[in-house]
Symmetry: C2
Subunit: 381 residues, 2 copies
DNA sequence: TTGTTATGTTCTTAGCAAGAACAAAAAGTT
DNA sequence: AACTTTTTGTTCTTGCTAAGAACATAACAA
């Protein structure tokens, strides 16, 4: 590591601080935050302004002292696009340094990889020369960061590289559950915590272990299929090829199956919502179904907490409703499956606060993770 | 980060490279390894020699070129002690920079926390002024790094801080399974791999997830109880307070129970070894018992691989024998519990190569992790 | 004996952050 | 209205870092 690397390192810390901050930082507060002198902060900001990465605007005075400046995205600075691909639609958004998100366009798709061309066209309609990276969220495992196994679209192994080519911005893609967790840990309910988990409950369960604000991806980028561990003693065969998966008992598919319908991916959300509604109005069978779902959820969370010892677990999708309706049951079954000595300090179970656009926000985060690297900075400065 | 931090950072990189190397590095090869110039390497090594952290001895010439020096531990340099506490005995060893380990003493203990006084006395008998840290391995969860829950000793919540005091070297303690995994990833079968798991199979299963060469400890330092997830469908009650734990079907306790004896911690290893022997000579019941054990092991590994996507999984303890006797069965049951799309690239299942003193070697590693920090270096230089 | 090769050493140089001293811009205080 | 206090920005100097060039050294090879 050389002196020049030192400068780049501190530039990156500063940019990262600006990006991660809840509200715009002032130059003086950034200096305090990083533990550097005002002179050094001035030099760093000056370089970054010259490199077109940061812009200073006068901050309104607050109390005594010479007024300082706010650090805001440079008008000529890099911009990320984020796309969220769902069963039959997609959303494209634009994200600036700091995380401000602006939806650009939404569209339908035909469930084939041709949708990437649609997204490319949409990117083209909004493209600026400052577009630096595109982050994509999609539901399903993505081996090695480009081989897509998207069961609800019937994609067995679609290679992203075959569908993006010249004219594409630098693109990163990841699983929606993992990205929803990333959004929670960077900007939501899990903010600031070191060891946490997030689960997105939709048709089944997808999840991620987040350490120090980063989602773990495993050796082949396909970690996180916690829903395909046999945690609840089911004897059914799962669509994934294994017997007894946790996902068979939790999520919309489990509710659908409980009512004698054929589970799958793509239909059943409405029925699941209806079951939740009916359980609230006292329908006995719906109540039992929701109870079973929540209990299976809690049981799995307890088992996973034994293994991974998270400080907190956040849920999104159906999980938010389940916490609202059955927090007590989830916590009780979780505790019952925690090793006895852990029960004095169980993991906190939290509804996600980022909302329905967690995957989109997570996609924005991985796009900026690709932009705010020391290597890229070295080239740009 | 300042210029002085830069120097400390590079010193730390150099020391870490020396410590991690398989064989002593030469000064020239260290410079190449770190990507620094020979002049810079000379300056760094000079400082470290002056600080009493590194020593240079002439390296025997190999081929053309001016002979260089070997980087070896400084005779006045810091030394770590490592202790491994088992059911009724302990081992104390001395470790030098580079990982060379020398057993100093072994002893029996009375299964009470008084054993820490015994260890302290043994440390005293061998103490040098250069002793910088003591690492301890013990079997059982250790909440927050000091509250011991050691079921096989009947310790429910023994606070290490109540039993070490003045005169103790800086002490770090961790779970033996985690430390065995650490030894494998730093110096054994898992060396150099990014996402791996290790399981130590003894009476039951302890394990650890290792990322980038570091074992994950969770929010309360009690991650890794993979054996207490319900992965195999058992309906029995586990001593941990939960029903259906994986550990009920894998390890010496499971073999003991299979033969109608009372499982526990402390007795049963002999019986387990006998069952393994008998299975090798064709005893039908022993064969069935070993089959069940291996199949349950493979099933759990498959489930965990779905969730965490390790590149490889190493085993120690009984696991080594199980791989030797039933590799095929373990791999088949693992594959059957892998999601179908993963089966083309299953995790490699490897016998640990560090051997029986994995916990001791891991304890040495955490002791040196405590020594080779930038903060400590800053103070010493 | 004379290259050839790899490494060590010395000296210069460009760059970095820290610190001190001072300037500037606001809000209180008298 | 003048002065003080507080906070921040700016300038300049200083000590430190690693890199690079040039040269020295110690082995081997022809």
């Amino acid at each position: 590591m050389t002196s020049a690397d030192l400068r780049v390192h501190n530039q990156a810390r500063l940019l990262r601080a600006v990006h991660n901050a809840d509200q715009p930082l002032t130059r003086a507060s950034a200096a305090r935050l990083l533990g550097i002198g005002r002179n050094t902060a001035g030099a760093l900001v000056g370089d970054l302004e010259a490199a077109g990465l940061l812009h200073e605007v006068p901050a309104e005075a607050s109390g005594r002292g010479r007024p300082t400046t706010l650090l805001v995205p440079h008008p000529e600075g890099p911009v990320a696009f984020a796309a969220d691909i769902r069963e039959d639609s997609w959303t494209l958004a634009r994200v600036a340094l700091g995380g401000e998100l602006q939806v650009l366009e939404t569209g339908e798709h035909d469930r084939t990889p041709a949708l990437f061309a649609d997204i490319k066209a949409a990117v083209g309609r909004h493209e600026t020369e400052h577009l630096a990276a595109l982050g994509i969220a999609i539901s399903g495992p993505i081996r090695d960061g480009h081989r897509l196994h998207i069961s609800h679209l019937g994609w067995d192994e679609v290679d992203l590289d075959d569908h993006i080519g010249d004219g594409w911005p630098p693109t990163v893609i990841d699983n929606d559950a993992r990205l929803a967790g990333l959004a929670e840990v960077r900007r939501g309910a899990l903010r600031g915590m070191g060891t946490v988990m997030h689960f997105h409950i939709d048709f089944d369960i997808g999840g991620t272990l987040l350490l120090g604000g980063d989602p773990q991806r495993g050796a082949h980028h396909i970690a996180g299929e916690f829903g395909h561990m046999p945690l609840t003693g089911s004897t059914l065969e799962c669509m994934c090829g294994v017997k007894g998966c946790w996902s068979l008992d939790v999520g919309a598919n489990a509710l659908v199956r409980r009512f004698g319908k054929e589970p799958g991916y793509g239909t059943g959300r409405d029925l699941a919502q209806e079951v939740l509604r009916r359980s609230e109005t006292g329908d006995a069978e719906a109540t039992a179904a929701v109870d079973e779902n929540a209990a299976a959820l809690g049981k799995g969370l307890g088992a996973l907490a034994n293994a991974l010892d998270p400080e907190a677990i956040s849920l999104s999708g159906l999980g938010i409703e389940l916490i609202r309706l059955r927090r007590d049951l989830i916590e009780r079954t979780c505790a019952a499956n925690l090793m006895a000595f852990r029960r004095t300090a169980p993991p906190r179970i939290l509804p996600g606060t980022v909302g329905d656009d967690g995957p989109l926000r997570g996609a924005a985060e991985i796009a900026f993770d690709a932009i705010l690297t020391e290597d890229r900075l070295r080239d740009r400065l």
